[in-house]
Symmetry: C2
């Protein structure tokens, strides 16, 4: 699913899973990382990665960051994306986060409408720098 | 400095430091959190919080997130912000992050120019939801 995406097609290498396995072990060993996978009829059809980030601002509040939201092409428009995001919001609340945040590529207009329908506000600009 | 800010004035409580001390201990105990403080003549004049986030996408690459960039009013326009961000970029590279990212409130136009001068691209929208 990471590679089956207009933006992801050129930055993944599904033929060699070694770097993904190493990264998975690192995520799995960190209590602030929550990688959820949606499985339907034995097939993985969705992913979401939630990171809980402790912080000093807002009276020492934690926030959470949503990354890696991917829905398999066969499972789009089934409400699965909504269920994944709603899980992330509920889990963030459960962990006493005061804020949940994500960035969405400026070209993903459908995604922006999706997040706004779920109650997110596009209040910020998301700045990135490739290293 | 958190409270001495148009956006922060109403969401901090400097009179009671207990929640900040609890949050500091949590940050201090997490190897992915890096809280840097700039001190000049014995006074704290700047802060930056860098979080390293392991991930599966982009061939299992880590990314980093910059939060809590604050410069004391007395130390603005001295190049300190640039030095803090440049430290964060260098540290992210040192930790093999392929991407460094941050969000900036849409109203902070001066901050946007600052980040663009340093090489960031406002390629994303930043969505937030208060919990």
């Amino acid at each position: 699913m990471l590679a089956d995406d207009p933006l992801g097609a050129h930055r993944e290498s599904p033929a060699d899973l070694t770097p993904y396995r190493t990264a998975f072990a690192r995520i799995d060993g960190d209590p602030n990382q929550h990688l959820v996978v949606a499985v339907r009829d034995g097939r993985t059809v969705g992913t979401l990665h939630l990171t809980v980030i402790p912080g000093l601002s807002r009276r020492g509040a934690a926030r959470s960051l949503i990354e890696a939201v991917r829905i398999h092409a066969d499972a789009r428009a089934t409400g699965l994306g909504t269920r994944l995001i709603e899980w992330a919001i509920a889990e963030s609340r459960r962990q006493d986060c005061v804020l949940v945040q994500l960035t969405s590529d400026a070209t993903r207009v459908d995604a922006h409408r999706f997040y706004e329908r779920l109650g997110f506000e596009a209040s910020h600009l998301g700045f990135k720098m490739a290293l």
